[in-house]
Amino acid sequence: MPELPELDQIVHGQLRLAVLSILSAVAKADFTFLRDCTGSTDGNISAHLLKLEQAGYVAVEKSFVKRKPTSTYQITSAGRTALANYIRNLKKLLGADFNRSK
């Protein structure tokens, strides 16, 4: 059996992939923005953001804006590399037909 490219399981989660995709296009995004963009709930996205943070794929900055606590997220260099590798490996996994159809 041919060796299949490995997909990074941290990136592979639907919500985590969506978050990384958003953060790859914007400089920074706050918690509410990411939650609303992905149509997620507070609890669900918190758990996935924590996973990304623990993997070193996103960095969080906590501050107060108008006396309200705010968490602002940013993709890290490791996160950007992981996302690029994931896309490359996914293309390999999908095979030549997918790449030809582009």
């Binding site: 958003i22 790859s24 296009a25 914007v26 400089a27 920074k28 706050d30 992905t38 501050s63 705010t70």
Partner: protein, 192 residues
């Protein structure tokens, strides 16, 4: 001996290039002429521009800057080069994007190769009757820019679009054309 072999190989390469290009139906002069003709549609962008701009920060605050752009043709007019500088009220540059617009003749699409805030990407520039639009896909969201350039005014807006929700405007700039520029073609190095 080795050097002679290398020299012969280089000569073969040079001599073979036009033949190979012709065999593939490629002609540099024709390619450049086609690209130059295509870039004429964007000639209205050339010059120096300045005006107010605002963006919404991640905190939700509105951040006002003075945005400038300098834009000009390069490579014999076959590509267009852009540099923007966004200045804070204290004169500090806080936004400094650089772009190259070119025509992909095979695909018949204009491409914007953009560098901004450490981010790099290639985006299709869709020309309209008086400007252009371009998108940055970002997973469930699309960042959509619309520019209208006419009568010496360049108005561009950016919207965040999520399916099923109203677009959220996060960027707007209104620039006035303030003059011509010989950038980036000026200052080429002469042979002597």
């Amino acid at each position: 001996m080795f050097r002679q072999k290398i020299a012969r190989f280089v000569l073969m390469l040079i001599a073979g290039m036009p033949v190979a290009a012709q065999a593939l139906g490629l002609d540099s002069a024709a390619l450049i002429a086609g690209q130059r003709e295509a870039m004429k549609r964007l000639a209205y962008m050339d010059g120096v521009w300045r005006g107010p701009a605002w963006t919404i920060l991640p905190s939700g605050e509105k951040h006002n800057i003075t945005q400038t752009e300098r834009i000009g043709p390069f490579l014999d007019g076959s590509v267009k080069v852009t540099e923007g500088r966004g200045y804070d009220a204290d004169g500090k540059v806080t936004f400094n994007p650089f772009g190259k617009i070119s025509l992909n003749q095979a695909a018949k699409v204009y491409t914007l190769h953009s560098h901004a805030m450490g981010y790099v990407g290639d985006f299709e520039l869709k020309l309209t009757s008086d400007g252009y639009t371009w998108d940055i896909p970002a997973g469930p969201m699309t960042i959509h820019y619309t520019a209208v350039i006419k009568d010496g005014t360049w108005h561009e807006v950016g919207d965040r679009i999520v399916t099923g929700k109203a677009p959220v405007r996060f960027f707007e700039m209104t620039l006035k054309r303030i003059g011509d520029t010989d950038w980036p073609a000026a200052g080429a190095v002469s042979p002597k």
